[in-house]
Symmetry: C2
Subunit: 244 residues, 2 copies
């Protein structure tokens, strides 16, 4: 691997409904793809419950290990939305009524001619020292505290928040990726892939087998920041394939 | 929550290609759903890289915390398949050529009139003290060591292995779940949901908001082992809704 290091990230998906298998989470995949495009390497994803202790532990286990932490879910108005409170506890700061957040909500609900009830007000309680992440859709803000970005769980809102964040943080060098599809079992080319991997230390060669109507095939994926190395490694792999 | 405790589980998805956003993992959702049906509570999912240190750390951080650990991915024949080696290191046991596993592979490849080359043989190297998890499709076995079940990443094979496992392990009491869809913002019913949640301690009430054409709605999901409690809680919630 090349010596210049990309920023690293961990994604934390918060939600009982995902762990029970009721809901298919799509935020994780979106974030992995978009961060990858910006050269930010996602090293780990964790999916956890709406549980104060688990949120605190997970955030504290990861936030010093990675450059960025992105969380989704649990910042709404109901009893099971525990993320803001848990993040405050993780950072040992108070959960305070954020003036700016409350202003935004007041304006929004008065434009809808609806009251700012207690449940809605709850969404303006944010850990002290946070910066707001604006929500152009339903207005209740997410927040950033240090390197932790706390976003909504509803995909449309999460995406809107993320698009505001992504160009304000440090990017890395995106990896170029090249896929070579081969309709043979990977066990036939494993030895050559091993040799080629050792030859190109700036290229990460992944071998992703699949079954199609029970016939084995493999996608060989080359990933690197170095275009030239990918080209050469791909050439070597094609030589192997044509000699089969 | 009821006092009888269900077995707990953690799912570990291993694969660079998922973290880079190239591949959408479907194993996680399948496992969450199937375990839930059997009353095994998935408390956490982790998605990590094909990296020896990360696999060791993740397995050792979780295996004493949950009743069952299920891993998928990284047990194939290529250089980037590092799971078996890492699990052996996590348990501080040797990675040995498993006699039964090698027999199965020999038979399979001789039936295909193909050699059992070194890459294929690699798939029979399994941590000492493991029990094999049979693979009816491509024959290379997964394995169980203590409470850790190590399965393939290819969904068809993972499912076949899992179906062999699931009826041999301890089940819990599956939670019954009931969904009430309401076309109002959750902030309108948040106060009542809070009250009803406090009233029914055997029911987990989840509030899952959504946007449809920018209009807010919410799925209220009630989950419990106790059918009667769900019925009563649902009735209370319906009363609230009809009074809106």
């Amino acid at each position: 691997m090349k010596k210049t290091k990309n920023p690293t990230a961990c994604i934390i998906i918060i939600g009982n409904e995902i762990l029970s298998g009721r809901t298919i989470d799509t935020n994780k995949h979106y974030l992995c793809k978009e961060l990858s495009i910006k050269g930010i390497d996602v090293i780990e994803v964790r999916i956890i419950k709406d549980n104060i202790k688990q949120i605190i532990d997970t955030v504290n286990q990861t936030r010093n290990k990675y450059d960025y932490i992105f969380t989704t879910g649990g910042i709404g108005p109901t009893h099971d939305d525990l993320t803001a409170l848990s993040i405050a506890k993780a950072f040992k700061v108070k959960l305070i009524k954020n003036k700016k957040a409350i202003q935004i909500l007041k304006k929004y609900y008065s434009s809808l001619e609806q009251p700012l009830n207690k449940a809605r007000e709850k969404m303006a309680f944010i850990p002290k020292g946070s910066e707001l992440l604006y929500n152009p859709i339903t207005k209740a803000a997410g927040f950033r505290i240090k390197n932790v970005f706390v976003m909504a769980g509803i995909p449309e809102i999460m995406i809107a928040m993320f698009q505001n964040i992504i160009n304000k943080i440090k990017h890395g060098i995106p990896r170029i990726s090249k896929t070579i599809l081969v309709n043979v079992p990977e066990s036939i080319i494993a030895k050559d892939l091993f040799r080629i991997q050792n030859q190109f230390d700036e290229v990460e060669i992944g071998s992703y087998p699949f079954l199609q109507k029970r016939k084995k095939g493999v996608n060989i994926v080359l990933r690197s920041k170095n275009k030239n190395q990918i080209k050469q490694a791909a050439k070597e792999i094609r030589n192997v394939i044509s000699s089969l």
